[in-house]
């Protein structure tokens, strides 16, 4: 992370808890870049996270109010805090397992209410922290510690889910698309209403190791190769779309 961003970090926190090569470290940097670009004041912000590796992105690192809650419940806690103090820019940062598996109900209901929250979901397709079990975001066939023969269920399309529930702003980018991702995070912080950014992140330790991405770079390369834009996707046949993920903005301005 650039030295210029150190002012956003709690001085007594010396290092992040992430494994070497973890995508969440990149995301941590990009969130602070967006905050820096917008010149937001940390004393007007609240960061809420659930439980999981991704939940350690803001907490205790960011030098602001950081609320580390229960597994799955970050959005519900954030709703309460935001309702009572609407002036707070409230940002939820958590993992796919946290926000979309155990916490999926809170996520869709907050989107339905279109409450003014920013939710950043670091999707590494697995429960990283607990040792790599299949989540509701794990791809078909993924090898995990609870699907040693390959996952048999389809993953959620989180963006479609949240759009369906009524969110105002919905975007998906990967940590390998830093410029677009910073822009999306900035929009998610400025738009009124429920804003959701799905960030494709990497877990080399739990996902990579089991699925033959032998190094953190291999995982990043995989993301780079699989992420395509809507325009690119339109030119591809269903067969060519296999293994591809569409990134971009899917909903802007709400309904």
């Amino acid at each position: 992370m650039g030295r210029d961003l150190e002012k956003y970090l709690r001085p007594e926190v010396k290092s992040t808890p992430f494994c070497p090569g973890c995508g969440h470290g990149i995301l941590m940097n990009l969130i602070l870049r967006a905050i820096d670009d917008l010149q937001l004041r940390m004393d007007e912000m609240l960061f809420v996270s659930g439980i999981g590796c991704a939940a350690w992105i803001p907490s205790p690192n960011f030098n602001a109010d950081t609320l580390h809650t229960l597994h799955g419940r970050a959005v519900a806690f954030a709703t309460g805090a935001k309702m009572f103090n609407p002036k707070l820019k409230t940002m939820v940062i958590s993992g796919d397992g946290d926000l979309a598996s155990i916490g999926g109900n809170h996520l869709i209901h907050a989107a339905r209410r279109n409450i003014d929250l920013t939710v950043i979901c670091a999707n590494n397709m697995i429960y990283g922290m607990t040792g790599g079990q299949a989540a509701s975001t794990s791809p078909l066939g993924a090898l995990t510690s609870t699907t040693t023969e390959g996952n048999i269920y389809r993953p959620f399309d989180l963006c479609k889910l949240v759009i369906g529930a009524g969110a105002s702003y919905v975007a998906r980018y990967s940590v390998t698309q830093p410029v677009s991702l910073i822009e999306a995070i900035k929009k998610s912080l400025t738009i009124e209403g429920f804003a959701f950014v799905e960030v494709l992140s990497t877990c080399p330790t739990q996902f990579g190791r089991r699925n033959r991405y032998d190094s953190p770079t291999d995982m990043l390369t995989m993301l780079k190769e699989s992420c395509i834009s809507k325009q690119e996707a339109e030119k591809l046949s269903p067969e060519e779309m296999q293994g591809k993920v569409i990134t971009g903005e899917f909903s802007y301005g709400g309904t």
């Binding site: 229960l70 597994h71 999926g104 922290m129 607990t130 079990q133 609870t146």
Partner: protein, 388 residues
């Protein structure tokens, strides 16, 4: 066959040998290796079961109840926050009379977050109507998992196998793996009688009751919990006949002639045995009682064992804010009916919360304090706390 297994893998062996038919589970440290091991056993064809990777512990227990109502032998495992999230379903499992078995790895409660051991999670489920069986070592964990199915199914009450986080869950010990065919003889397939979701005999379950019937349902649970004491003893005895290992709801060690009796549960029992051996070598009249069952509480046996003792020191690795440790509450409650002359003085100690070590030294200091003080200085005494 003998193997070196962690407590968690021992649970998985217990469930596998019991021919469990449905497992629904959600990962949580330090339980996760139980359900990972079961997933591997299924993939290796060692057990013919359905494995549901649910999205939360609440769903895990709901799915187990559903499967059990369909006549299946259902199992899950969790700990700490996961057990708290299941709470609503735990009550339901009892009311629906589904003999689900759950392994709970004792983990302390958030906030603040911790993954280390104490009994707050399981003792907080005391009133849910689950049989609770605490374990001291990994052999006991494996054996208790098998016995839990037999106890639960014969009473149509759910049962929880409880083991300490890390001290058992992640510590390896050499243990005997019971022979599969012998286990099948000991634990025949679950027979739900005529109380199950039988498509050929459609019935409605989970309906509403009025105040003329609800109490009777509750009373039946209580009646069967009381019966459970005898059932557990019978199952322990049958297990001992077949497999040669005997377990007790209340186990006394060197307590016969003891002036001070220390009462413990879980892994603290092993440490206490060592402490008592050392103290006995120094000529101290000290003994120990290990409790295996919190529910049903073995009231009669406890009264029998502690009657006439001078001092009883209870070590609780849990506590109820505003009251005392849970085992101390239970024992005080049971012993009150003794005539005053037979009623021991109760010294309640709170120790080892959030995984803090309860070492031989700690147990020795508890003994020394109990011996020295003519009366306890408080209703419970916290060991090793830096008061700030």
């Amino acid at each position: 066959m003998r193997k070196v297994l962690t407590g968690n893998v021992a649970v998985a062996y217990g469930a596998m040998l019991s021919d469990v038919q449905v497992v629904a589970a959600y990962p949580i440290t330090p339980q996760t290796t139980i359900i990972e091991e079961l997933a591997t056993m299924q993939a290796d064809g060692l057990v013919d079961m359905d494995y549901i990777r649910v999205e939360s512990e609440h769903s895990a227990m709901a799915a187990c109840i559903g499967a059990s109502m369909g006549g299946a032998r259902a199992f899950t495992a969790t700990c700490g926050q996961g057990l708290f999230l299941m709470h609503e379903m735990l009550h339901y499992a009892t009311g629906a009379r589904t003999p689900v078995v759950l392994a709970n790895v004792n983990r302390a409660a958030a906030a603040p977050w911790t993954i280390w051991s104490d009994q707050t999670d399981s003792v907080s489920q005391r009133e849910t109507g689950w049989i609770q069986l605490y374990c001291e070592g990994n052999q006991e964990v494996l054996d208790t998992t098998i016995m839990a199915f037999k106890i639960a199914e014969s009473l149509r009450l759910p049962a929880m196998v409880v083991l300490d986080a890390f001290f058992l869950s992640h510590t390896s010990e050499p243990i005997d793996i019971p022979d599969r065919e012998q286990v099948r003889d000991f634990l025949p397939p679950f027979d739900p009688g005529d109380l199950w979701l039988d498509p050929n005999n459609p019935r409605t379950f989970g309906g509403i009751t009025m105040n003329d019937a609800y109490m009777e349902f509750r009373w039946q649970i209580q009646r069967d919990m009381e019966k459970a004491k005898a059932v557990i003893t019978e199952v322990h005895e049958e297990f001992a006949r077949v497999f040669g290992r005997k377990y007790h709801q209340v186990e006394a060690y060197q307590a016969e002639d003891a002036d001070v009796v220390i009462v413990v549960s879980g892994t603290v029992a092993s440490t206490s045995r060592d402490a008592i051996d050392l103290l006995r070598e120094k000529g101290q009249q000290v003994g120990m009682v290990k409790l295996k069952t919190l529910r049903p509480f073995p009231r009669e046996e406890i009264i029998e064992t502690l009657k006439g003792k001078k001092k009883v020191a209870i070590i609780d690795r849990n506590f109820s804010p505003g009251a005392t440790g849970i085992w101390a509450q239970e024992i005080r409650n049971a012993l009150y009916e003794l005539p005053e002359g037979d009623r021991p003085l109760i010294y309640g100690y709170i120790a080892g919360l959030g995984g803090r070590d309860i070492s031989v030294k700690v147990i020795e200091s508890i003994y020394q304090k109990t011996l020295k003080d003519n009366r306890p200085d408080d209703v419970d005494m916290w060991i090793g706390v830096n008061y700030v």
